[in-house]
């Protein structure tokens, strides 16, 4: 899970166009100034690219935080 968390942090940082250090572990999609609709789209596309498949709709709906991204990545590893 630690590996997935690190990867989630990297993907979120990339989508929010910032550095890993700027991404707190408890970041949530609706409580971050940087996390907007385009960043959200970039994040999901980046997750899909890293996983080599499209996310199913329920996974797309789950993405709300670093923890939720890490959870999806961990399940796919």
């Amino acid at each position: 899970m630690k590996k997935a968390e690190t990867q989630a942090r990297e993907l979120i940082a990339e989508a929010l166009m910032t550095t890993d250090k700027e991404i707190p572990l408890d970041i949530r999609f609706d409580q971050s100034e940087r996390w907007d609709s385009l960043a959200h789209m970039r994040l999901i596309l980046a997750i899909e690219e890293s996983m080599g498949r499209s996310l199913v709709t329920r996974e797309i709906l789950e993405i709300e935080s670093l923890a939720s991204v890490a959870n999806i990545l961990a399940k796919n590893s």
Partner: protein, 193 residues
Amino acid sequence: MTTPWKQGQPVTLETERFRLAPIRPQDVDEAYVAWWNDEEVQKGLNMPVRNWGLPEARQHVARFDNRRRFHLGITAKETRERIGFITLIREGHGRVQTNSVIGNKDYWGKKVVLEVRGEVLRFLFEEMGAEKIISTVNARNLPSIYNYKAQGFTCEGILRDHAEWIEGGRVDMLNFGLLKSEWEAQQKSGEAS
């Protein structure tokens, strides 16, 4: 400051950065038409480009009667430029269906929909008497999904493989809904965007 609204009157609203007012046929311009003919903008609606000209766009706008169907232009106060629209359809039973399009791509990723729809929700619940706001979006409209979730809407159902996807194959459709009681709770807790 918001103009008080009475049944049958056009809806005009205002936020910090934007003004909302009905788009009338005479308001239709080349920029508005271009949104309907833009592949990237239409993809969000899972539609092909319309190949509209001014007459088709004016015909479309004329369908909104400002009683049951509203088509509100979103104008940036700073530039006085219309950048998109939000559509409201009163369905009866206190339900209002909504969707929004930001046609000017310079405003994508600027939280325009959250700001504008925040005021629209206040208007619908407090002034129009709505009990529930609903919207259906395709599952690949990722920015829209973000906006509905961030604004407290619940995905009430996934309609599996419900529509042909513009890029081929089929796509799920998502039914989002927000109840007045949920919106009121958000306002009280300060959670609303």
